[in-house]
Symmetry: C3
């Protein structure tokens, strides 16, 4: 199928810095993780073991080994970091990630509000030990950041050592960069995209309508996160214009007006 | 991870009488049932083979053996009981559960309205042969019980021999103890919780928002049912405060106001 | 369970011309396809490899072999046909389906508008090489066909050689024969059912409420499509009256008023 694939948008090969997909595993069995890998490893860069599930998932070390062997980088959801932090157990958190041979760490403050200067210190410290992905945005509906705050926090976190910043949306896709009905909050998104290098941002986009919106607006190689495992092939279809929603978006100009 | 687990809410170990989770299997393959067991058996007390699926599920005897061996008690959805009953085949129903070596039986009247006195007789008769779980609440939107009726039916059924009573919500979570939009009907729920021993009630809570509501209001060890298999780890995370929604609910007092 | 099954609606055995179920596989792994087959092959006639997923699914030849061996006929979603067509690669499409030993072909114009006369020519040509299933209805919300157009297109396509026509609804179930809220568009559906032989129509019905509507209105053996793999057993339960929604619909008259 060389020929038709030549007519599709180009996707960088792994390891890549753009066109990244982060999938959320919120409790797959080992065999289900293998199933996912067999179908999705080429299209997936990161797997987030959602929120604090790592603490209660049977077979965690085997799962981490499976993902790493498949070239899909596993890391723990930021809520785990926060669960240790709120109990004054940061040193235990470090031990936990070391024991599990985890190279990427998510630093977030979605549930537990900490001073942003302190968050930056954690990012700096963790960046010396491995790679940090930090998340901006609260899980709480009553905490609303201005577009300027989104931008300045993201910039500061990248400067402190994060390799990527994630724009929060939760598993439900109804907070942070989205309105309560799941539609895109364009004021926030535009402010971010105007001021932060797009390669450095991963947009959480659990709902198909959100994936479509980002691919239409930022192209096939926009970085997307919180993708359910079962949606990895459908998402790749959207990126490549192989689904109705983006069918015409990435066609060569001369075919587009047919 | 002894240490951080010490800081999480305590969960009774199986077999337990409180903190129960009932999962609905509406057509898993044998291998998928194995996958579920590998990840969820510690957290799951009962698996309901939903509505009448038992009659048309290939490999039913093997599936029942799998669940029993894993210490997860399987039983047939109440609609199966009703499907036999409406055809005057109660004796055939008894044979069917005996042939399948099923120890728990669900008695319900969600689709087929029977006199409550007659329902109590079935509960008594079946309680002599095994353990009965009975369900209160109609699947029909036009049948609405008063809070007093919910309470009196539950009490009568427990007295007749049910080991647990289930509060109906369907797979969709939009009837019975919930309003049409899936939100909790607090008048009914409060009446039940004020008058029926909570250990004896299993609340159907298929939607995450419903699980959160019950855990926040009745604590980590509330009995919940109709949980989709893929939600067993996320639900346990909610019970333990390892997810944003319940992050602060079960923290020691001195950490809660941080 | 011969006895109770005798009391349930009769379902034709495969290969059958009515009571057909078409399932959408949008990216199962090989092992997940095996799992699906183990539970659903008896109840499933066709598996559509959704939209353009065939181009990017690892292990496609093995998957096709698996389904064919199980007597579940696989075919590619119509968007794949359209993706080749818009790039003037119809001959390459023929080669692709031949290379993959696919016997059924879906011809659609849901994303790429082509003249209906030209669509009929494609149907005729493809009908000489294998079996054609054609789809009527646009994926675009701005393209709305009158009931008369639905009927005349379906009739013309059957005449041109389609063995079945599919009434479009998308994976989301919110366009074509449904209103934007997913409810049935009865004007269109009635026009079709009054004028086109029902055995020849497959109704896309991804949502449970839609499956219930069609089964209640057209009986247990209505042809339904775009069923998620995990819903195959629940759907068969609906067809057989083994679920609350259709519990009374197919009971013998004397039992119905109980």
């Amino acid at each position: 199928m060389k020929k038709i694939l030549d007519f599709l948008p180009e996707r960088p090969v792994k390891p890549r810095n753009t066109g990244i997909t982060m999938v959320m595993d919120k409790g797959l069995s080992l065999r289900e993780a293998e199933d996912f890998i067999s179908i999705g490893s080429e299209y997936t860069d990161f797997v987030k073991l959602g929120f604090g599930t790592a603490l209660i998932t049977p077979g965690l070390p085997e799962k981490i080994r499976l993902y790493k062997k498949a070239g899909v980088m596993p890391y723990f959801g930021g809520t785990l970091f926060e669960a240790f932090l709120v109990r004054d157990m940061f040193r235990d958190f470090l031990k936990f990630i070391d024991d599990n041979e985890i190279e990427y760490v998510e630093v977030s403050d979605g549930s537990y509000d900490i001073d942003h200067a302190r968050k930056l210190e954690y990012i700096s410290e963790l960046a010396k030990r491995g790679s940090v992905i930090s998340e901006v945005g609260s899980k709480k509906k009553e905490i609303i950041y201005t577009p300027e705050e989104w931008v300045s926090m993201m910039k500061a976190e990248l400067e402190a050592g994060s390799v990527k910043v994630i724009a929060e949306a939760r598993e439900s896709g109804t907070t942070g960069i989205y309105n309560a009905d799941g539609s895109a909050n364009m004021t926030i998104i535009n402010a971010i995209s105007d001021n932060v290098k797009l390669d450095n941002v991963i947009w959480e986009a659990p709902l198909k309508s959100q994936q479509v919106w980002f691919i239409k607006n930022f192209g096939p190689n926009v970085n997307l996160g919180n993708i359910p495992p079962t949606e990895i092939i459908p998402l790749e279809s959207l990126r490549l214009g192989l689904r109705g929603d983006t069918f015409f978006d990435f066609l060569p100009e001369n075919l587009r007006n047919k």
